[in-house]
């Protein structure tokens, strides 16, 4: 048990705290304390990671710890982090933190809400600190189920349908994944499910041919890869604010992270051979998601489709199989996580006031609730890749990286993917124009409550993070870039 396990332990303790808390005050206290602790933890881990690297530690994973768990299956509870996990942990902490404040006054059943919320975060954190296939898969599944209840109980609209669809489709993904993982383990002949051990072995190429698609698709479902993305619009549209934030912000990143860490890292030959299929699919995701977003009228649908497009870009970049593009992919995960969380937070807060999410029924909100208006514009600008906001660095890294592949196929796809930045601008500006500018559409919207302190806290934290990543990308990009190296080495084999 090393300190990384605290990331899992703290939410677990939060759950216990929630069990014994009696009223809303205590619940809020538990959640706030836990969330702050997690943020501090991840900041500390980042610092420790960077100092350790600066001290010349070149191991693939740092702070590793390994405890045998199920000896007959060579299942170990092993943790460890590299730059990518650190980035993801930071992201998770920020989003868990802001999610808590975004749902500060959740009603009804706050205790149960936060219980599931904490369980969800256990899954997320656990996934990012794991280096063992089994524990990774386990945490992945832990993260799936609370979603059902969170959406089903606290959601809105077609919540039961959305929740069920989301859960079942993701379960379908995990079904593919499980076959993939078991196949990898047995075909590699490794004596451990530890990724670092398996990568030293050679999985027979014939096995890779079917294991790679299984694994990639399995994670791809969570990464909203075309055509397995349809859970995303319905699921996100009906989810409560904090859940949308956490799900789109972090959970969808599990998909990209998994593709990177498991599918490509462990099966490099198949990745080379088969990447074209998935490049086409993800390329479609990128453009298709963006085009679909143009004609949506529900704010959450717009954002969900936009997530399809942006997350498609993550997988797209990973499949380019070069260092720069992969770095860009991770940056994009981080960036998309932050900005989509911001979007969902704002949409939730606006919805809480206007009681509608249809852009046709809103207008002129900038004048009424300027704080949300300005924040929404910032989120939008981040989403369409404005420099100094996080989206720009991520997308540019991806495009520059993707362009390193010289053949016409990759070139054309890259250019097609680039067009998404224009389409993104179209739907973002459409929304901003419709809901924030112009005249107020609904008489009831003329007097809306201003933002409360906890809403401001949540929104401002995210905006600051977006600016931080976007304005000073160097350290984070180099941190990620270093950690992509092992995969590149693996691919070069």
């Amino acid at each position: 048990m090393n300190f990384l396990s605290l990331f899992v332990l703290i939410p677990a303790l939060m759950m216990m705290g929630l069990f014994v808390s009696k009223n809303r005050k205590q619940i809020q206290f538990v959640m706030a304390t836990g969330a702050i602790l997690l943020v501090i933890m991840s900041a500390a881990v980042t610092y420790m990671y960077l100092t350790e690297r600066a001290a010349g530690n070149l191991a693939t994973m740092l702070f590793t710890a390994d405890t045998v768990w199920y000896a007959p299956f060579n299942i170990h509870y092993s943790v460890g982090i590299d730059g990518i996990s650190v980035a993801m942990l930071l992201l998770s902490s920020i989003i868990v933190f802001t999610g808590v404040f975004a749902s500060w006054k959740i009603d009804p059943l706050p205790k149960e809400f936060f219980l599931w919320y904490s369980l969800l975060s256990i899954g997320v954190y656990g996934f990012f600190i794991s280096v063992d296939l089994f524990t990774m898969f386990m945490y992945y599944e832990i993260a799936l189920i609370p979603m059902y209840l969170l959406i089903g109980v606290w959601g809105s609209g077609k919540k039961e349908y959305g929740a069920m669809k989301l859960t079942l489709m993701l379960m379908g993904g995990s079904a593919l994944l499980l076959v993939g993982i078991l196949g990898i383990y047995y075909q590699s002949g490794a004596t451990s499910m530890n990724i670092l051990e398996i990568c030293k072995t050679n999985i027979p190429i014939q096995a890779q041919y079917y294991l790679f698609p299984l694994t990639f698709m399995g994670f791809g479902v969570l990464g909203a890869m075309f055509p397995f993305h349809t859970w995303s619009p319905d699921g996100h549209a009906s989810a409560p604010t904090a859940v949308s934030m956490l799900h789109a912000g972090v959970l969808m990143k599990l998909g990209g992270y998994g593709c990177f860490r498991v599918a490509i890292y462990l099966m490099p030959q198949a990745a080379h051979e088969l990447s074209w299929i998935f490049l086409i699919l993800t390329g479609i995701s990128v453009v298709y998601g963006a085009f679909s977003a143009i004609v949506q009228t529900d704010l959450k649908y717009i954002n969900a489709y936009s997530s399809v497009s942006h997350c498609g870009l993550v997988l797209f970049a990973i499949l380019m199989l070069n260092q720069t593009a992969m770095t860009g992919a991770v940056m994009q995960m981080l960036s998309h996580g932050l900005m989509t969380a911001l979007f969902f937070a704002l949409i939730g807060m606006i919805y809480g006031r206007t009681h509608t999410r249809l852009i046709t029924e809103m207008g002129g909100l900038m004048k009424i609730i300027p704080f949300f208006g300005v924040s929404y514009v910032i989120a939008g600008l981040a989403s369409l890749g404005l420099p100094s906001l996080s989206g720009f660095v991520a997308e540019m890294t991806i495009f520059v990286g993707s362009f390193q592949e010289t053949d016409t196929f990759h070139r054309v796809l890259t250019i097609v993917a680039c067009t998404s930045i224009v389409i993104t601008a179209v739907y973002i500006l459409r929304v901003v124009g419709k809901i924030l500018y112009g005249a107020v559409q609904d008489k009831h919207h003329e007097h809306l409550d201003p933002a409360t302190w906890y809403e401001r806290l949540s929104v401002v934290t995210l905006i600051v993070a977006i600016f931080a990543v976007g304005s000073a990308p160097f350290w984070i990009s180099s941190m990620i870039s270093d950690s992509v190296m092992p995969v590149i080495t693996q691919l070069a084999k």
Partner: protein, 473 residues
Amino acid sequence: MDYSSFLQMKEEFSLLAVMVFLLVYDIFASEKALRYFQPIALVLFAAHTLLNCVPREAFEVAGGMFQYVPMQTYVKTILNVGTLIVLLQAHKFLNEDTNRIKRGEFYFLTFSTLLGMYFMISAGNFLMFFIGLETASIPMATLVAFDKYNKKSAEAGAKYILSAVFASSISLFGMSLIYGTTGTLYFNDIAVLFTGTPLQLLAFVLFSVGLFFKISLVPFHLWTPDVYEGAQTNITSYLSVISKGAAVFVLFTLLVKVFVHIIADWQPILYGLAVVSITVANLFAIRQQNLKRFLAFSSISQAGYILLAIISGTALGMASLVYFVLVYMFSNLAAFGVISVIEQKSKKILMSDYNGLYQTNPKLSFVMMIALFSLAGIPPFAGFFSKFFIFSAAVQQGFYVLVFIALLNTIISLYYYLLVVKAMFINANETPIETVTSDVPAKISFVLCTVGILVVGLISTIYSQIAVFSFGI
């Protein structure tokens, strides 16, 4: 002949002692003393469970008719714990005025079936096996028809006894052919002589369908939902867990010990049965409204999953199988327990009756939910681990496609488990079932189940212990 070796059959004798004591106590004790009948019975049985939970050296009794291997202790302990939980849950039911008079019989019959299963598990000879099997199933029929003024119960009893006897007569016919082709009834000898001649294969098929019936695999499962629905809920849970658990273990033992030479023949059978069982049961389960029927189909589908452990025939598969049964026991009993306490209170058993249950019965809903999640194989509940292990055991032997089909089916199964969760937590209801207060034994049983579901997966010692004594081909 030295009969002292018979004393080694500790579990059987200790259970028999409990049975005899209870029988005598029930008949001769005063009305006042009878008030303590149930506590005494429970304590005695718990003591029996505890006394017999430590594995011993392997031994044989009666020239190999009774063969003990340490793994059996675990299996029997699992059955004991399961029975104990069932009895705890039945405590309230048996204290009702109409049933008080019958409770002695209830215990006696239950323990009889358990004893039958003990013998079945430890059998080293087809005669012993057959006696065990029938001892386990005939009293079961009376238990199913226990509620004698209930039409459904009677119907269920009839269906059970008819189907069971039909199955066992086919099985018996199969045994006769096995005897005819090998000339012996001892497992150890048959294993050598059973080489797979056509007649032997026919014998094997006829014999094994009897066991498939017990495990209720498709297409030998049709009795299951009707009987589960008609029987009193605690008996249903007993039927679904204990009876099935014993049968799957026996199936595995027989396949790897006796029919080891024809592995190439029984693997495809199990393959097909697993696929059909899981799929068909799931398809039926999604449309069930009655929760007992619902869990019946769920248990059929679970039985299909168990075949994945058996099909590998490896030690890993064996350990996974026993572990799966353990986890399944906790999960299923928790679910049935909730259904039974609610049924006793409100006579409501339909899924729609459970709408909004969380508002009035948060704890019961919670137990039900984790039980269902465990059945669906969701971490961190134990069901996830047990499923993962059987899949792993199957993949190890190269059954990729089978595992994949099974996994696709987990999507369907998750769907219907979530339907119940949805009913309890999400669906609105003006008049939810009123708050139910369960008695102390039932509470203990829920705690046991919950702890089991939560802990068995996370603590790997349990699995490791089981794995120590597991055996395969």
